[in-house]
Amino acid sequence: EPEVTQTPSHQVTQMGQEVILRCVPISNHLYFYWYRQILGQKVEFLVSFYNNEISEKSEIFDDQFSVERPDGSNFTLKIRSTKLEDSAMYFCASSDSSDPRGLEQYFGPGTRLTVT
């Protein structure tokens, strides 16, 4: 069964450094998402992406964050200058081309980001 993959599984970085979290969505999916889950808290929406543009973003997704689809398979989340409070599990998700409303989003296993 096709699945969303994410690398790395765990990233440790120092405060102020840039990080790039990588995701490979399911191959025929066209809608992409990033969510995060701070330890012990709920899953929070960050951004959605379609047709090389951001469709929607939350107030969390400030100028420190950016997303990109650099090629036909990867979808990346970049945090320009990490802060301690960026430590969280980051989930990538994708939904099918026939699902523009994102009603069935498939999630990756997550990348645990630890900022020290």
Partner: protein, 117 residues
């Protein structure tokens, strides 16, 4: 503003007994409603969704959920629990009125389900 409430942090059930994980929501109009499950060190897995039609929705692994508009609830149920059902369960909602492509899902805080043998 949209919100989802899962009033129980933890639910404990004996194997073979029925289980219920509660969820209530606050959204204007009729929302889309979802349940996701998260196993240890795994991502979120889609269980089921309510879009329209029959209020009782059947999903993966024998789970079902009932949409109750008057009580604004979408409780997850299973007639007979298995030890392997032990996991973290998230209720989620999406505003039906959101027209933009790839709109966000709002998640509840999660309920840890523990099934004892």
């Amino acid at each position: 503003a949209q919100s989802v409430a899962q009033p129980e942090d933890q639910v404990n059930v004996a194997e073979g007994n029925p289980l219920t994980v509660k969820c209530t929501y606050s959204v204007s109009g009729n929302p889309y409603l979802f349940w996701y499950v998260q196993y240890p060190n795994r991502g979120l897995q889609f269980l089921l969704k309510y879009i329209t039609g029959d209020n009782l929705v059947k999903g993966s692994y024998g789970f079902e959920a009932e949409f109750n508009k008057s009580q604004t609830s979408f409780h997850l149920k299973k007639p007979s629990a298995l030890v392997s059902d032990s996991a973290l369960y998230f209720c989620a909602v999406r505003d039906r009125r959101a027209y933009s492509s790839a709109s966000k899902i709002i998640f509840g805080s999660g309920t840890r389900l523990s099934i004892r043998p």
